[in-house]
Subunit: 312 residues, 2 copies
């Protein structure tokens, strides 16, 4: 499960909480702070928890930076984290800061919920479809952006894409990573979601497999469609070590992967696009099975472009 | 405050939680795991919270260790952390693990409390005394132990103390750092504690000052007695950069510093010695004042010896 769920007191309520911390993967500390916060909260949202009641922040200030670098970067990381928390209607009330060779940013998100306020990720039934709320490919996009400054790496892909393609992919990745999965969580209740997870370090198929294994019913997941940040699919073919098309490329602050009835999934996708201005996609189906997940051979690739007006 | 306190739902209850993580300071990973857990929990105990309802663990596995080192050390860190949690009647239900240049260990401790189950650290009144439940000097003891292998450092103190003194001081520091402040918290309720904190990174006087500033009444704290791990006071005189006698030497998993009425403080000290087998001390008084804390000139030094039967 994405969160720890502890029944409290007489079991009427549960403490649902999660902790996560990250190393920076984008070059803008303010945006990195937002991404970290969105990613911590995402574990709550994956369980349909809409209201986080408190956040703590974890911060590792790099001992390898100069004092000047620290004085500029640290407040921006904190501001990004707090701004994203404010967007989620939650205050950051404490935490801890240490020196560390590598910069660290993360947090603890907690909610106290009545049973109807969260959805245990174990109720998928054969006939459900799989919905994904953000495109995959964030890691490859972030890496490609770094390769712009590394001629040797860049020369391996510059026949496939332009500088501009990479800049747009990077912006697309960032705008998706900062986006909260909160509306996604809210709508899980409205449209009868049966189970969900969020897509992060194990990649789409890694998390799909975890989720499939966790179901009460004997089901398997079949993914037939991969929404991918534009241009990343063609790069993934030559940079096969990323395993993006195999579903194993790590994502940061990825989308929700949700099992729900097909008719409601279609409404869910329309509704979330109205609210967030971003598409969600039906990417596969739930069948009777033995707790596995797979991507079909030659899945449909949806190229997801950067939206010029996307919020960062 | 040592914890974040968030009123939840209609304010009938509060979510009280805290997060902390640390770099190892002792050479036994199992004991380090226990110390980390005791230190995380201590923030709850300082608020009189007796029952922690859930813990998450934060772990940074050193990227500079060999695979073999990691395979030995990591499970011991985890076992120590979990064993200390079990001693506190709490399960570790999740957390996060990353690679990091430096080993990290810490956690998140959460409790959901009714108002009578915690004590806000702001009720000290003039006439109270200050109680401390563990000796200070952990950092100096740990450093002296490391100096046994550094002839240049060792030569500066070996006229004052023996190898055996240092080994005992190190054992005394470890046994105090692994000890839970849980009985200390329990007895805060029984003996009418008005305010408390735990002594960690800012040192005794640093935390005393924070606590004094946080009081509703206009009070100041005067510390007249320093219980110190045996032999550390004389070393502190030559190693003045530690500022142990000035009250600013950082402690790890230190004791509770509690404001309470004198008569009850005497009973508190007797009671905790019966339960924990360890002494607590009245180390000062609360007077009318302006939110300051000080150590008197030439305070009484109590040499606290290692107990041969102390638990590790």
């Amino acid at each position: 499960m994405d969160c720890s769920v502890t029944p409290i007191r007489n079991g009427e309520m549960s403490l649902i909480h999660t902790t996560d911390f990250f190393y920076p993967l984008v070059d803008d500390p303010y945006i990195m702070g937002k991404i970290a916060c969105a990613n911590v909260l995402s574990d709550l949202y994956a369980m349909g928890v809409v209201d986080c009641h408190n956040m703590l922040m974890l911060l590792g200030v790099s001992s390898k930076m100069t004092e000047k670098e620290r004085d500029i970067i640290t407040p921006l990381l904190i501001k990004g984290f707090k701004d994203a928390a404010a967007e989620a209607d939650v205050k950051v009330t404490g935490g801890q800061t240490v020196f560390n060779p590598w910069t660290l940013i993360g947090g603890v998100a907690s909610s106290i919920c009545f049973p109807k306020e969260f959805i245990l990720p174990n109720g998928a039934v054969a006939g459900d479809v799989l919905v994904l709320t953000k495109p995959i490919g964030t890691q490859l996009a972030v890496n490609c952006y770094q390769w712009l400054d590394k001629p040797e790496r860049w020369s391996r892909i510059n026949s496939l894409v332009s500088d501009d393609d990479i800049h747009k992919a990077y912006l697309c990745a960032m705008s998706n990573m900062v986006r909260l999965n909160r509306n996604g969580a809210r709508l899980m209740h409205k449209y009868n979601a049966h189970a969900a997870t969020d897509v992060t370090g194990f990649g789409l198929l890694g998390h799909a497999t975890n989720l499939a294994q966790n179901q009460k019913n004997k089901v398997s997941f079949v993914i037939d469609t991969l929404p991918i940040i534009a241009k990343m699919a063609c790069i993934a073919k030559v940079c096969s070590s990323f395993k993006l098309l195999q579903g194993y490329s790590p994502e940061t602050s990825g989308g929700l992967l949700i099992c729900m009835p097909r008719a409601e999934a279609q409404e869910y996708c329309k509704d979330i696009e109205r609210r967030d201005g971003n598409q969600a996609w039906i990417i596969g189906t739930v069948k009777e099975g033995s707790g596995t997940a797979q991507i079909i051979e030659d899945p449909e690739i949806i190229e997801v472009p950067h939206k010029e007006n996307a919020k960062l």
